[in-house]
Structures are given as C-alpha cells and as structure tokens.
C-alpha cells in the first residue's frame, strides 16, 4: 500500500515530470545566481544549494512536485551574517536552520500555521517582492545608460516571448539573447564573473570551519531561527498553493521535516539555506510536473548544466539578471491585495501594510511577520471585547434582569462593569449569562464586584445561564463566596 503510493509519487507521471524538471532547471539557474549575489556569496553557493535542496527534498519532502532551492526570502536574511562573519558561518547557520526545522516538523508545526492571519501572509509576499527589488537597485541605478537599456531589453523579451511560444522559459531566452548580444557588441556592462566565480565541479562534503563553542552559537542562532521560520512559512504556503493547483493533499509536517533534512545536507555540501519557491513550483506544475521525479530532475539537470556551461554562465551580464529579478518581484507581489485594500476590513489592511513596513524597515521578514501576528492579535482582542448589557424589567415590579452578551475577559471587563448603574431600587436582581462566556479571573473579579455592589444596596442577586466552563471557573476563582447567593442554572 505504502509502496504503491510512493511508486505513484515517483513514477506516476514520468514523461511530464522529466520535461517539467528540465524547464524548472533552466528557470532556476538565473535565480540561484541572483539570490547568491543578494546574500553576498559566490554564485556557486546558491547553485549548490539549489542542486542539493531539490535533490534531497524530492526524496524526503511532503509535497511532490514542489520545487525547493536557494530563495530570495532566505538570501535576504543572511546578508549581515555573511558580511560580518563569512561563508563558513553561513554553512553552520544553514545546518542549524535545518536542525531547527526538523525539530519544528517533529513537533507538528503545521498545526500552528492556521494562527498566521492571511493579511500577514499577504504582507509577507508583498514585502518579499519589495526587498528583492530593493536588492537589485545598486546593480542598475546610476551605473550607465547601457545598463538601463539591457535591463529594458531583458524585460521586453521576458514579457513578449511567451506570445511566440510557452515551451521554453522566457527568462532563459532573455538571458541567452542578451548574453549573446553583449558578447558580440562588446557592451560595457558588469557580468556575473565580476561578482564571483563559477566552479565546474560537484559539491563536496565539508565540515564548516568554525570554532564549536557558545560564542559561535550566539552568532548563528538568531539568524538560523529567523531562517527556519521564514523557510517553513514560505514552504508551507507554497505547499498549499501546489495542493490547490493539483487538487491533491500533502503532509505539511513531513514537508517541514524534509525542509530540515534538506537544509542540513545543503549546509554540509557548501550551500546556503533554502526553501520552497512559489514561482518555480507554479512553473513546474504548469509544465506538467506532478511527482517527486520532477523535483529530482530539476536539481540534477541544473547541476549538469553548470558542469557543462559554467564558462558561459560567468559571461551573463548583470543587468540581464536584474531584469529576471524584476520579473520575479512582479510575479511575487500580490497585486490583487492592492485592489482589495479598500474592500477588506480596515484592520486587515492595516495589518498587511504594517507587516510590509516592518519588513522593509528592518530588512527582516521574520520580524515583520512577528509584528503582523502581534498586531492582528490585538485587533482580534479589540473586536471580540465588545460586551452588551441589556436591562429589562423582570417578572415582578421589584425585579430587574440584566442580560449580558459577548465575551467576558480582561479586555472587556471595564466596559462590562461600566454598563451597570447602581441607582437601582429593585429588590431582586438577576444577571443572565446565557449569551456570554466567562474566560478569566478578571471577568470573575468583575462579576464579584458587581454582585457585591448590588448587595450593598440591599438587593438579592441571582446569576443564571452560566455555561459549564464559566461555572467551573467561577467556582474556582471567586474570592467572595458569600457573594453568590444563588447560582442557578437554567
């Protein structure tokens, strides 16, 4: 049974998977190089990462047909670490990221994904697009006119070539065309070779050359934690998108564990931390990829291309890569969120915008997500803290009934208490709790206070309609037992 399923995940769609894997490998190369440049490392680090992430995740991932490689979201998080401490610390961070993700997967992180509001996720992808764009600015603004022209030509090819055929990825065609043109015309632009070298060799196993002590851990842990969270966030979002596109389900915790294993292996083979990529996974599914084989082929074919074509990769003009990255930004940004900005509840829009601002200000996606979640939690508390107290005349003239509706907890008790005027002359007071829930000690204390006040005025008080949980809490927490003259439940 399990073997049959695995067999299908691997060999259920051989032709489609091989073809789409090749397409993805071609589309991955420029991105892997560009993300390495963002991180401030040699292109090989991103290429090795893409190779090893794809190959390992094909075997241990939870979502067949999803593509994992070196990504922009991850690259942006390592910039400072690479600048301050260098490559060896990056490898160590990548391994630690993997260990943390593996741990999160084992602990069942997927179940906590539902606590991340969608406005935070929209803010996440939007700010990711903005950050990737900002990272391109130094590579094309104010260098020379030729640079602008090359970027423009690249973008034109990317968006117009699909009108001719969609069989070959347009970004690759653009890169090829622009590279050939610039070689023939000896155009004065910087190339990938100016920013790093391409080794035509397979990655080898290595242990990061760092001191194994507490100080190292203090250096790498914060970055590794941020990487592990951002990596899982993007991977599980991508998994949901692939789920929907293929009308199939996937094991998110297995995917989290898989991401962990893939990053551990990647760190030991000289790669930078990576995660799943929305854009590439969409390309894969669109090109017919459905099984694990597609991801494996993407990784292996990418490595093969580098081994064969490495000499040519260094000749790619930087502005061509910038063009591809601008396309990635446009594809990553959720444009529909701009249209829905005025249609969704104001609090959702505020959360989205604040998440974006926080990320762009700190250059750290994990901080933005954290602030976004915090803010939406506050909004949620504010929303559900509305309580209503309705006053009505009871069965007899000297009987007043108060009906409370809403949630009673720390944020709503002030409003709750202020809703009572103790001018009342009624002899009998009934508080009806049918439409409410008592959540915490603040709520119990507030009820106690009200009951006491009524009693001071000489009225008898009855509490009715408390649900089971609320009753249990009242019983446990109430400080003034005598206050509860009759707790009756209807």
């Amino acid at each position: 049974m399990a073997t049959a399923k695995l067999n299908k995940q691997w060999f259920g769609n051989v032709r489609g998977d091989i073809l789409s894997g090749i397409v993805v490998a071609l589309a991955l190369i420029p991105e892997a190089i560009a993300f390495s440049i963002i991180a401030g490392v040699d292109p090989m680090v991103g290429l090795y990462a893409s190779f090893s992430m794809a190959v390992v995740i094909a075997i241990v991932g939870g979502r067949p047909a999803m593509i994992s490689a070196a990504t922009g979201a991850m690259a942006l998080l390592m910039v400072t670490l690479v600048k301050d401490y260098g490559l060896q610390y990056l490898f160590a961070t990548t391994i630690l990221t993997g260990v943390l993700q593996l741990l999160f997967g084992v602990l069942g992180i997927a179940r906590f994904m539902k606590f991340i509001p969608r406005s935070v996720m929209i803010g996440f992808v939007n700010s990711l697009a903005i950050l990737i764009f900002m990272a391109q600015v130094p590579h094309f603004i104010g260098i020379n006119t030729t640079t602008y022209i090359v970027v423009g030509v690249t973008l034109a090819i990317i968006y117009l070539f699909p009108l001719i055929t969609k069989a070959v990825p347009a970004p690759l065609v653009a890169i090829l065309a622009v590279t050939i043109i610039s070689l023939f015309l000896h155009i004065d632009v910087r190339t990938v070779g100016d920013l790093g070298e391409i080794k035509q060799a397979l990655p080898t196993f290595l242990l990061p050359n760092i001191p194994l002590n507490l100080e190292t851990l203090q250096i790498i842990f914060p970055t590794a934690l941020a990487l592990s969270i951002v990596g899982l966030l993007e991977s599980l979002l991508t998994a949901s998108i692939v789920d929907d596109m293929t009308d199939t389900d996937s094991n998110k915790n297995k995917e989290a564990r898989g991401q962990g294993i893939a990053n551990i292996v990647t760190g030991f083979f000289g790669g930078m931390a990576g995660c799943a990529m929305i854009g590439q996974s969409v390309i894969n599914v669109k090109s017919g990829g459905r099984g694990r084989l597609s991801t494996l082929v993407a990784g292996i074919f990418l490595m093969f291309l580098i081994l064969v074509l490495g000499d040519w990769v260094v000749k790619i003009p930087m502005p061509a890569l910038v063009g591809v990255m601008i396309m990635v930004c446009i594809g990553t940004f959720d444009w529909s969120s701009l249209r829905s900005l005025t249609r969704v509840p104001l609090s959702d829009s505020v959360v989205m915008v604040v998440t974006v601002i926080a990320v762009v200000a700190t250059h750290n996606l994990s901080i933005g997500v954290f602030i976004g979640i915090l803010l939406s939690a506050i909004f949620f508390v504010a929303k559900i803290s509305k309580v209503k107290v309705e006053k009505s005349t009871g069965t007899t003239a000297d009987h007043t009934r108060y009906t409370i509706s809403g949630q009673l907890f720390f944020a709503s008790v002030t409003d709750f208490t202020n809703s009572f005027s103790f001018e009342n002359k009624s002899k009998h007071i009934t508080l009806n709790f049918t439409n409410t829930h008592v959540w915490d000690d603040s709520a119990v204390a507030a009820i106690d206070k009200i009951v006491l006040k009524f009693k001071e005025k000489g009225s008898s008080v009855t509490l009715e309609g408390l649900n089971k949980d609320s009753q249990a809490l009242m019983h446990k927490l109430t400080t003034n037992d005598s206050a509860h003259v009759n707790v009756s439940n209807h």
Binding site: K114, P117, R118, M121, I122, V125, L163, L237, S240, I241, D243, D244, M245, T246, D247, I278, V282, V285, K286, D334, W335, S336, S337, S340
Partner: protein, 142 residues
C-alpha cells in the same frame, strides 16, 4: 440535435449568457446532457490561496460563484454536471470536450479589442480554432 453540450463557465455575465444558450438548446431535446466546466487559471491560484484562510473556505468561495449557474440549470430541470478544474482555460475546455465526447462547445465572448487579444489571448477564438466538434460563441451585447 446535440446530445452532449460542454459550456465554459468563469462566473462572469458573458459565461452566464452562454449557459442560458446551453439550457435553451438542451430543452429542445430531452436527454441532452450539459456539462458546465469552470477552469481555474494556474496564475490565479497563488492569490486565491493567499486570500483564503483554509482550503475549505476557498472551496466554498468558488462554489458560491457557480451558484446562479446551478440555480439556472436546476430551474430548467435538465441533466447537468458542474465541474471545476485547474489549468489553462482553452486547452482544458478542449480536453474536457474530447474526454466527454461532447458534440458542442458553447463559450461566451469577452469582447476583447485586438490589443487585449494579443496580450491576454482570446479563449473563445482558441477553442474555436482547435475544437474537434461544433463551437458556438455567444456574443454579449450590452
């Protein structure tokens, strides 16, 4: 005349008009089966998933869009089926028509201008060009 009609549905008024044509044709001959197919474009999946809190909510949001079509089919009391598939609209509609051995495809025309047609691609003209059965393109006249 037609035994099996495939009608392309995208939730728009154009496609509703196409569905109404399918209903009228089906009523002419008892036993005619109508298949309404909605193709969800891969490009829109990311936004769809991002803007919904879970797969179940997403599904019901998509179902809601089809409700008036379902109502119209029910009211006409004809044999029908509503299908949702992921993919590129034109190839998917053609594939479905072929798989179900449809003898007519009905599709609404969005009325694009020539430039839009180049950039966005007209689904109806592509379907008309490649279909192996008859195709009815329903023009929407405002």
């Amino acid at each position: 005349m037609y035994k099996k009609i495939v009608v392309a549905i995208d939730g728009s008024d154009h496609s509703f008009l196409a569905a109404e044509h399918a209903i009228q044709l089906a009523k002419l001959q008892p036993g005619t089966h109508v298949e309404g197919i909605q193709v969800l474009d891969y490009e829109k999946t990311k936004a769809d998933v991002l803007h919904s809190s879970d797969p179940i909510q997403l599904q019901s949001k998509r179902d809601e869009k089809l409700q008036r079509f379902r109502d119209a089919f029910e009211a006409a009391s004809i044999q029908y089926k509503l299908i949702m598939k992921h993919g590129e609209p034109a190839p998917m509609i053609l594939e479905h028509a072929r798989d179900t051995r449809a003898d007519l495809i009905i599709i609404g025309s969005r009325g694009l201008n020539p430039l839009q047609e180049i950039v966005m691609g007209s689904v109806s003209s592509r379907v008309a060009k490649r279909a192996k059965c008859s195709v009815m393109i329903v023009k929407y006249l405002p």
